[in-house]
């Protein structure tokens, strides 16, 4: 890479070199290349989860653009006259008819449509998995809190993108999905009725909603998503990627292959692999067969009416409410069967958003953290995460309560009752188990550092005693097991005016909760003591 404009033109310069000089002299790109081209990018499979999301989003953009050339977001009624026999002559909206035309009358149209939908499911799933990785390795700690917020916003926007897209074909499944959204909105106190009325442009279903969702789906939401992804990535470059503890890797360096060429090859290749996997799935597996569902009509409904997976937790929350949670008070209807799920999900979401700030406040740690934690070394955080995952999984499973019932020969009432218990008790059980498992693993790590690996070799001592030989760790392997910090519970101290504030008490209480049970890493002294005890 040439770094500065050169005035001496050497005749033997290669084509690439001349081209880069040509571009650079007009853009000053050399500075960027110099800065970024040889940046080290830490290498670990779990660091690629975000890339899955990014690349599936690119696939969504490409396939979605193709679809916009054919899809017509109109709810005007037409009689279908395309190729699919069981819908011939049926009255449906232009949106539905054009989606059927994409599927049946445009070569490769169904392929692109299926790829778009599969990629959307993958997009949200990859974001979810990526967030779990960030959470469980503490990669949200200073200086990365903002990126946690941006990433979280992207998760919500991705769900919005997904739901608006799911609703566009105006088929029976998505129409009933919108019907549920309408009912949900109407249940919100004070603003509900009018919000629904304005959203649907009058009474449900109206003739406006598909066009409105289309604008959101292809203009507003993607614009915000693209902008936030850009900021997200710029911050990744500014922060440099986290890395796992390993010999030579420190808080002051970022170790890995350079962006050019190895990382670029791996990431570029990975994009094509994801694109290819999605193409494979789209060519072999049906998704959202709208021709089965038929056009939206408020009277029919299909058994097994469910939203796409990422909305499942909200649908499941609605299903888990016991009968009777609705009251008339002050001559107004209070639909707690709708409000309670909304509020519970709202609190859950707020806790997820706020977690990095809560943990930072409890620890009072103002240092930058660039070494990602092993989940076992932050037992309370890992346990909280496990509890959250269990809560979410319970809600999510509830969205398929009917399918669970038929496929496991259960009663749907039994499934609902079991999941009600799981959502309430499950998080506590998961918390307890995860915390114990983490601490047990930490203890095992200590054992291994102090006494070495079990080699499996049995030796008979001269005295007739059998022992298993323990293989001591070398310093590199040992480093991975001892290079973490533990925190101690906060001692309450009076402030300058001799008072202990409520905030201090709360922080001390939470700090006790977080760090009461802790396993400190082995120190040099302990290892020496252990060795001298053996010999």
């Amino acid at each position: 890479m040439s770094t500065a404009p050169s005035t001496q033109v050497t005749p033997k310069r290669s084509f690439t070199a001349s081209a880069s000089v040509y571009v650079n002299e007009r853009t000053s790109l050399a500075g960027f290349v110099k800065e970024l081209g040889r940046k080290a990018f830490p290498d670990h499979w779990s660091f690629l989860l975000g890339e899955i999301a990014l690349f599936s989003f690119v696939v969504i953009l490409i396939s979605g653009t193709f679809l916009t050339f054919f899809f017509q977001a109109s709810m005007a009624e037409v009689h279908y006259d395309g190729s699919y026999v069981p819908l011939k002559g049926v009255e449906m909206s232009v949106a539905m008819a054009s989606t059927l035309d994409i599927s049946f009358d445009i070569r490769g149209g169904l392929f692109v449509r299926q790829m778009h939908h599969w990629a959307a499911l993958l997009f949200v799933a990859a974001i979810g998995l990526h967030m779990l990785r960030i959470f469980f390795t503490g990669a949200f700690r200073k200086p990365r809190e903002f990126n946690w917020l941006i990433g979280f916003t992207l998760f919500i926007l991705a769900m919005g993108e997904g739901f608006t897209g799911y609703s566009l074909p105006d088929d029976l499944l998505s129409g009933n999905g919108l019907r549920i959204i309408d009912g949900l909105i109407k249940g919100i106190p004070v603003i509900g009725t009018w919000t629904s009325f304005l959203l649907f442009g009058g009474e449900f279903p109206g003739t406006a909603i598909v066009g409105r969702l289309y604008t959101l789906h292809i203009l507003l939401l993607p614009a915000i998503v693209v902008a936030l992804i850009a900021i997200h990535l710029v911050l990744v470059v500014v922060h440099k990627h986290t890395q796992y503890a390993a010999p030579g890797k420190t808080q002051q360096n970022a170790v890995g292959p350079p962006i050019l060429p190895i990382y670029a090859a791996k990431a570029g290749g990975f994009f094509f692999i994801i694109f290819g996997v999605l193409a494979l799935i789209a060519s072999l597996f049906t998704i959202n067969p709208i021709w089965n569902y038929g056009p939206y009509d408020p009277s029919p409904v299909s058994a097994g009416t469910q939203p796409d997976w990422y909305i499942g937790f909200a649908d499941g929350a609605l299903r888990l409410i016991p009968p009777g949670w609705e009251f008339v008070w002050l001559d107004r209807t209070w639909s707690f069967n709708i409000l309670v799920p909304l509020i519970a999900i709202g609190i859950f979401i707020l806790l997820v958003v706020a977690y990095p700030f809560i943990e930072a406040w409890v620890k009072g740690d103002h240092r930058e953290h660039h070494i990602a934690d092993r989940p076992r070394n932050a037992p309370t955080r890992t346990a909280i995460g496990a509890a959250g995952v269990t809560f979410y999984a319970g809600l999510w499973a509830a969205a398929s309560s009917d399918i669970l019932a038929t496929h496991f020969s259960l009663t749907m009432e039994g499934v609902i009752h079991a999941l009600q218990a799981m959502v309430i008790i499950g998080p506590f059980v998961a918390y307890f188990i995860a915390k114990r498992v983490c601490i047990a693993l930490q203890k095992k790590d200590r054992e291994v550092v102090l006494h070495g690996y079990e080699s499996g070799r049995i030796v008979k001592l001269p005295g007739g005693e059998f022992i298993e030989v323990h293989q001591p760790l070398d310093e590199y392997d040992r480093w991975k097991l001892v290079s973490y910090e533990s925190y101690e519970p906060l001692m309450i101290r009076p402030n300058a005016r001799g008072k202990i504030t409520v905030g201090q008490r709360l922080r001390a209480g939470m700090s006790r909760w977080f760090f009461e049970d802790r396993i400190a890493p082995v120190t040099k002294g302990e290892l020496e003591a252990s060795h001298s005890a053996h010999h």
Binding site: W45, V85, W291, A303, I403
Partner: protein, 264 residues
């Protein structure tokens, strides 16, 4: 084509799996062929006195314990007087009757009687009181209007049986069975008789021609695989979500491990 013999005596680890899968496919195919065979022979036979007598003997030996010696009903089973030949042909022809045990609903199983015996039972019961008859072949052969049938199916049937006929859950462990390999005759008979908890769809609700259209649609769905590829059970978004998490994301995460592993 010269198919090369196995060079080594060792079987491929997946061979057993493949064999099993093949076996299952053949059994399923044979079963499907058998049940569609039942459909083809559904034409009404002349109801001679002899048929009815044979049916009565079969009835008293196999059904009377629950339904009573004269089909008048007992505490364990309803009266069959006036249910018609269609009800018997459906219940016995799909193996639901005789029931193995009392449960939330009678389970489908391989039929216990031959087609001839089923017909004898049906005409015996029909002789006890007037009821819906076994439909004529022209109504169940799938020669109607699939589009009209599909619309009627969505309005009257899909909420229990799913839009693609994949079945669905009912209350307290009951379920609406999948219609993916049910014969036209049995679909017709189920509509007119309302077996188990299914409502009755009489000819004034859905006319015989409309019933033929519904069957035409279901046959269309049975005969035409989804244009998009494997249907994943036609279960909708739940199956799709599980698939993308387990196979889509699973495969890609496996690739990430390969990408970041040291090359060797």
């Amino acid at each position: 084509m010269n198919r090369s013999k196995r060079r080594t005596g060792r079987r491929h680890p997946l061979a057993t799996v493949a064999l099993l899968a093949l076996g299952l496919v053949f059994t399923g195919g044979a079963y499907a062929a058998l049940s569609s065979g039942t459909a083809a022979q559904a034409e009404a036979e002349p109801t001679s006195q002899e048929t009815i007598e044979q049916g009565k003997k079969l009835f008293q030996a196999n059904c009377a314990t629950c339904h009573g010696l004269e089909a008048q009903g007992t505490n364990n089973g309803p009266s069959l007087i006036g249910v018609g030949a269609a009800a018997v042909d459906f219940q016995v022809g799909t193996g639901r009757m005789p029931m193995q045990m009392q449960g939330p609903q009678a389970q489908e199983k391989p039929p216990q009687f031959t087609d001839e015996q089923t017909k004898q039972l049906a005409y015996y019961v029909a002789s006890l009181g007037p009821g819906p008859d076994i439909p004529a072949d022209s109504l169940v052969n799938g020669g109607g209007d699939a589009a009209n049938g599909a619309e009627l199916f969505r309005i009257n049937c899909a909420m229990c049986h799913n839009v693609a006929g994949a079945g669905g859950a009912l209350t307290e462990g009951k379920f609406a069975p999948p219609l993916t390999d049910v014969s036209g005759v049995h679909i017709y008979e189920a509509m007119v008789t309302g077996p188990q908890n299914m409502p009755v769809f009489n000819d004034l609700n859905i006319s015989p021609e409309d019933k033929r259209d519904v069957i035409t649609y279901l046959k269309y769905v049975q005969d035409n695989r989804s244009p998009g590829g494997f249907e994943l059970g036609s279960l909708g978004p739940v199956a799709e979500g599980l698939f993308i998490w387990i196979f889509g994301l699973g495969a890609i995460v496996a690739v990430t491990v390969w990408i970041t592993a040291k090359s060797n």
